[in-house]
Symmetry: D2
């Protein structure tokens, strides 16, 4: 059985400042997302700005979110780290808080070779107390978890899925094809711009950052894809593309996605738009642009 299916939003981390959670914002955010009917919640991923957050704050986030979710959906916790021991510590914290699984991208300072990745994930999966998901994220970690490496690692009893954020459709489909008979291994699409078609073709779900904003839209999209309702998938995916084109491309640099989502959440009254240092929230002009586009989308 797949450990997870459906829409698993990579939750943003509401911050008051660089070292403090926005606790009331977190409470509203969790309820906002869960109200959409999502199937899980992924904490401390790239959208969650995990690598830039102090460790104590990461642990507080896991503890508080687990209490807020209170078992309504399974929680996955990112343990990606350059320090192996810190990954283990975060995994222990996740287990204590009742998380359902762990997610790890490759170490991201030294780019590992494929044999090193096999060693790394094997060691990690051997030692952590929860099921582990591979997280392919080459734009940040400089290396793909190659298809043969995924196939090899999928044999490990504690490695139960793959989240692919490469956006490389040939790679994603090759992984899905090679593991098509593995009913116990979940394959999740990262980029929300491809979630509909991925599930139509047999993927198990998506880790859609936009589900922080519009969780029900993604749940509807997932349901339509599972039902093989192509027309409805097209229509809903078009709405996803509209949000993507209006909200995620404001500003410059590769932080525009997280900035856009946090700014929109702030304008929608959900949580703060503070980002982990050194990144700054949108300036007034960009914020106003997000506001006008949320109005255009009917979200304000």
């Amino acid at each position: 059985m797949k450990r997870i299916r459906g829409v698993v939003p990579p939750m943003v981390t509401p911050l008051l400042d660089n070292d403090h959670l926005d606790v009331p914002g977190l409470e509203r955010l969790v309820e906002h997302i869960l109200a959409g009917g999502v199937h899980g919640l992924f904490l401390l991923g790239t959208t969650g700005e995990a690598p830039d957050l102090p460790y104590e704050l990461r642990r507080e986030l896991v503890r508080r979110t687990s209490q807020l979710v209170a078992g309504r959906v399974p929680i996955l916790v990112g343990v990606t780290d350059t320090v192996f021991t810190e990954s283990l510590k975060m995994a222990a914290c996740a287990q204590e808080c009742g998380a359902a699984g762990l997610v790890a991208a490759p170490p991201y300072y030294f780019a590992a070779g494929q044999p090193e990745l096999i060693d790394y994930y094997t060691r990690l999966a051997d030692r952590v107390p929860l099921p582990l998901y591979l997280y392919n994220m080459p734009s940040q970690v400089k290396v793909m978890i190659s298809v043969p490496t995924v196939i090899e690692l999928a044999k490990h009893p504690n490695i139960v899925g793959l989240k692919d954020s490469s956006g490389n459709i040939g790679y994603f489909n090759a992984c899905r094809y090679q593991l098509r008979n593995r009913d116990d291994f979940a394959i999740l699409m990262g980029p929300e711009e491809a979630m509909g078609e991925a599930v139509l073709m047999g993927a198990d779900g998506g880790v859609a950052g936009g589900a922080n904003l519009f969780p029900k839209m993604f749940v509807d999209l997932y349901d339509a894809a599972v039902a093989k309702d192509v027309d409805r998938v097209r229509a809903l995916q078009e709405r996803v593309m509209r949000v993507s084109s209006l909200i995620y491309g404001i500003g410059h640099h590769n932080s525009s996605f997280v900035k856009g989502v946090k700014c929109a959440l702030s304008l929608m009254g959900v949580c703060s738009d503070v980002l982990a240092a050194p990144r700054e929230p949108f300036n007034a002009a960009d914020r106003e642009l997000v506001r006008s586009r949320l109005v255009e989308l009917g979200a304000l």
Copy 2:
């Protein structure tokens, strides 16, 4: 109206040696592909090894193929070049031979900036006598034709489509979304590993290299996708993935796709497996491996 739809195989170029066409092989190849019911034929693309072929051979290929096809399907001719004048000359040759359109990737020695790409394609589209398709191929030309650049260029009356071979699904879907109301602009998926889902979601077709080998399989896949028959798309796309995993990954370096296709065509008795210099056909061991896999696929 779209100028082209459906399966448009990027034809390999059958060679006797570096400077001579395998003319009988070309005749068999054209009939082999057309027998599959494809909707067009794309000459002198990356699969056709165009940049490595002598110019006279390129022109002979266009002339001979046009005569062989004899109007049964529209022909697109690649005019990608670093030399602007050579692109114009190849375009004139294509027109003389009755081609339906031209395809151009960005110049590939100096990586152009986006404003330069707008200038380049505008100049080219102004001067060529046939409709022009943009060809996004960042792995070879070092630059993406960005989404805003595509949107801008799509306004040109003589630019009628985009072939995207980036494999970047977010990019492909953004282009498709932005141009969704342009009934006169075709968007074609490059990687065959994503053709089924692309057409299911509304793309106009695919430029599937594997259609050199198994044209009908791709035509069936296209038809199933147009009919929104998800189960059949899944089954046929799975067959495409099987071919891909068995035939395209033998050998090393980034020529394994063309080598695999040409070797398989040679084993199937269609045409020679000679490659343009400096590349060599598979050695005996790799050739034997391709043979055994074609047997496994029921193609021998």
Copy 3:
């Protein structure tokens, strides 16, 4: 006045296992390096595997090394981190231990744009209690600190130098040229393969990883370059190239440099060759190869 000049070895971190220092090895290593007459010591850089080390171990390393060095040479401490607060904590630890300066590469998960780098380094330099050196390391952090950004940041009163490990000679020389009149800003060459010529041309020194093994060779090279003794620089740089070609290219992946240095130190009886997880020391065959080459170099 330059805060630092000369040979500043980026010290490897002797480990017993992933979480424990090799304390006797550290003692021998410090004495081995200082006996060569080096001008400073750089802890917790890339050669020191800093991003892969547990924080408590990093702090213990700084404390112990400071005690061992006991003021004989200035110590620079790497504070590169994705977590801003952790950089500040490490900076405080460095100050407490009497370090002379701090070194920071850009945050390495999210690739920063140049304006973000200016913000980042300005914030960091504003808050840390010791002079700060910029550390250009694009292969690991995915972004160059551009020449204009270096020029801008060099105006900050607490930013006192640049260590460039890009290996890009045009970049290095452009930085040196632009800051040629800044007697208070040090420019240090990373790759030891270019240290001699860099100092000949006016650079302030080098952060030579090989100085863990052969510190006096690099001090001699530096002295010869300061003395503008071209023949001696050539001869000594040739010895550096010999070590580089014999010791650093064994094994695969981009860890071969650190593995080679640690293996050689182990064979020379200085310290352990354990690497931070997930990396493993050389296997027996590679270790034997290092041994034979150390014999060839007269180092065993």
Copy 4:
């Protein structure tokens, strides 16, 4: 004996328009460069925009330049091409015109693997009638000619040197070190920003684009480096850096170097600033900026 030593300017190609040489400009340019005392002339390199020039124009350039030079210095001719036969044809043209050698970067559409590079250069060196220089240019051709590949190819009797334009100082020095005993193999530095130190350390010369503008400055720099006059090398290299910082960084995209050089030559009355399509000369504002900087340099 080295086939070539010293300053070998990569000559720009003076153009009237995309298909026609600026013949009077070419005459003035050749005399301008030769008056500086350079040791050779390199036609049809990257600075010469070779890949963007029509073949007939390339041949005319070689013929006319050979006649103008009339044996005063050896001429090297670039034969870099994606089409093997075109490389051979250009080589034959070079021989007919009395050229001294050929220069070839790897084919630049399909990125070759290292074994393919060995095959490619071996075939080419076997067939061309003149000595061949390897041209390492990864920014344009997407692949380094690796150090082991250079070592292997240097054994070929007709491969007589390496021009390295990577700017990677570790690579350059590794090649120079490995081939230090090969008195018959020339190693030439591409980036002029590193020519002084390269020759000081034992390299055979430089292919300095700026020598189109200020040939004598580079000849003086070369002479000072050969004489091991470090102070003079520093002073002259500083002048090179000044030109580089003032003239080569205007405008955007990676064509700013060629645009700057051609614009300056035009302002100095030497030749036209027309660039091969699709690139345009500087606009009026950028041209005015170049003018003011040439005044600042005392060149106008």
